[in-house]
């Protein structure tokens, strides 16, 4: 396995979508390739950082503000 292939199929590896043979090949590559170990670590950090950067918005209450509801209903009445 080359580094290019490692990076290309990285998400399939992380999501557990590889066959046992493919997974073993991935792990053999990781055991000998410092560059890919570093690439993977940075990739995993990126995924965590994205989650953390967007988490506040994701957990915001899903209720629409009353003034937005009223604005939309008023706009609808004007359009009808």
């Amino acid at each position: 396995m080359t580094c290019r292939e490692f990076v290309e199929f990285l998400n399939a590896y992380l999501e557990g979508n590889l066959t046992p043979a493919e997974k073993a090949e991935f792990e053999r590559h990781l055991a000998v390739c410092t560059a890919c170990v570093r690439y993977l670590a940075g990739y995993n950090s990126t995924t965590r950082l994205v989650r953390d950067a967007l988490v506040d918005a994701a957990n915001a209450p899903a209720d629409a503000p009353e003034e937005l509801v009223n604005a939309i209903l008023a706009a609808k009445r004007r359009a009808d």
């Binding site: 690439y39 670590a41 950090s45 994701a58 629409a64």
Partner: protein, 206 residues
């Protein structure tokens, strides 16, 4: 697998098609919040996000006859809201977008990394407070080409799985996975200069 709507959803859609005013009120009250949450994340601006949700719900009301309950009402609504939000965003963007290819890792002909990735240090070690870190990452997300940025954001919304994201963007679930992977790779490139550890005292790898 064909989608079968709930009786409640079918009823609401039928009432919307008949133009019942209280059906539209129900739609707005029940659905505007989730759409707003999504639009806020795509636009990062409250006023624009509210306008996008308003445009989307009015558009949904005008086009309800084209909705045949082949997917969840919420998926259809999200699709309209996301398109409304993206149109607003494109109208605001003045800078040219970078190409995703320029942000993906490069390899030598034999498949080795063209540049050996530097190890990353933890944000704490980089001396960054959480708010500063979140802003740094959000700014980097904003630099991604729209197609990739949208996927990254949608997949962090709890209610959107790969399948729903694919329906909303009219692409295959596999294309969602590929774009998400590329988005993360590109973001890794954009964040690299902020997190790479000082490697001067580390042994070189090949």
């Amino acid at each position: 697998m064909p989608y079968s709507p709930t009786a409640e959803e079918l009823d609401l859609v039928e009432r919307l098609k008949r133009g019942e005013a209280d059906a539209f009120t129900t739609l707005v009250r029940d659905r505007a919040g989730a759409l707003l949450r999504c639009a806020r994340k795509l636009l990062g601006n409250e006023e624009d996000a509210r306008e996008a949700v308003q445009d989307a719900l009015l558009q949904a009301s005008r086009n309800i006859d084209t909705f045949h309950c082949q997917c969840q009402l919420s998926t259809w609504l999200h699709k309209i809201a996301i398109n409304a939000a993206l149109m607003k965003r494109r109208a605001r963007l003045s800078r040219p977008q970078v190409s995703i290819e320029d942000l993906l890792p490069r390899f030598q002909e034999d498949g080795h990394h063209a540049e050996i990735p530097a190890p990353w240090q933890e944000p704490v070690e980089a001396g960054m407070a959480r708010a500063e870190l979140q802003k740094l990452v959000r700014d980097a997300i904003d630099q991604l080409p729209d197609n990739y940025r949208t996927i990254l954001i949608l997949r962090e919304l709890n209610e959107m799985d790969t399948e729903a994201t694919a329906q909303v963007l009219s692409i295959t679930p596999n294309a969602v996975k590929i774009r998400l992977h590329r988005a993360r790779q590109a973001l890794r490139t954009l964040l690299d200069s902020h997190f790479r550890a000082d490697t001067s005292d580390l042994p070189r790898v090949r």
